[in-house]
């Protein structure tokens, strides 16, 4: 069974540009989560989808971040325009049951210059 996959693994962009990160959850997992780890800090929750609906987006930093999950399968996280402080590793996770074990992807390392 394939795990959670994320694309790209690395992205280097300039301040002001747009970047879109993709996450493919484990097949059949209705719950999809985005997290971010800024260097030297803890991994922080961004948002949670149940199927295509946003269950909780309380962790989204600001309106430059837009997450979608059309069709309830894969999800994208777009940052527009990117700022220096957006640099970090963006993790995606999925779970079958809300509250149970979350399976994490390898992360996307975003560097904003």
């Amino acid at each position: 069974e394939a795990g959670v996959t994320q694309f790209p693994s690395h992205s280097v962009i300039e301040k002001g540009q747009t970047v879109t990160l993709r996450c493919d959850p484990i097949s059949g997992h209705d719950n999809l989560y985005w997290y971010r780890r800024v260097m030297g800090k803890e991994i922080k929750f961004l948002l949670h989808f149940v199927k295509e609906s946003k269950q909780d987006e309380s962790g989204m930093p600001n309106n430059r971040f837009l997450a979608e999950r059309t069709g309830g399968t894969y999800s994208t996280l777009k940052v527009q325009p990117a700022e220096l402080e957006d640099s970090g590793v963006y993790f995606c996770a999925s779970s079958l049951v809300w509250g149970n074990e979350q399976f994490f992807g390898p992360g996307t390392r975003l560097t904003v210059l």
Binding site: Y33, E42, I43, H48, A93, Q102, G107
Partner: protein, 110 residues
């Protein structure tokens, strides 16, 4: 707000030494607690979890953790570490979302 505190940010041990990584959480309700591990170049993966029942939880690779409610603690232990345990370890609490501690980098000397 709920929070998780990990006592050590960086731990260096020799092989065969015993390990205890401290974790305290602040949450007054029923807690679901986790330890996740990230080996170099690999995904975050679940090491063990506590939802209810026996407060001494056994995980993979010989790890265990003890939930002590009165101390709000969930320390991770392993009696004898191996070089392959070199990784970053994250304590976490579940509160509709996972709240992570800052992580502890464990380096095992061969």
């Amino acid at each position: 707000a709920q929070s998780v505190s990990q006592h050590n940010h960086h731990v260096i041990l020799s092989e065969a030494a015993s390990l205890e990584l401290g974790c305290n959480y602040s949450y007054g309700g029923t807690v679901n607690l986790f330890w996740y591990v990230q080996y170099p170049g690999q995904h975050l993966q679940l090491l063990l979890k506590y939802f209810s029942g026996d407060p001494l939880v056994k995980g993979i690779k010989g790890f265990e953790a003890e939930f002590i409610k009165s101390k709000f603690s969930f320390n991770l232990r392993k009696p004898s570490v191996q070089w392959s345990d070199t990784a970053e370890y994250f304590c976490a609490v579940y509160d509709d979302k996972i709240i992570f501690g800052k992580g502890t980098r464990l380096h095992i000397l061969p």
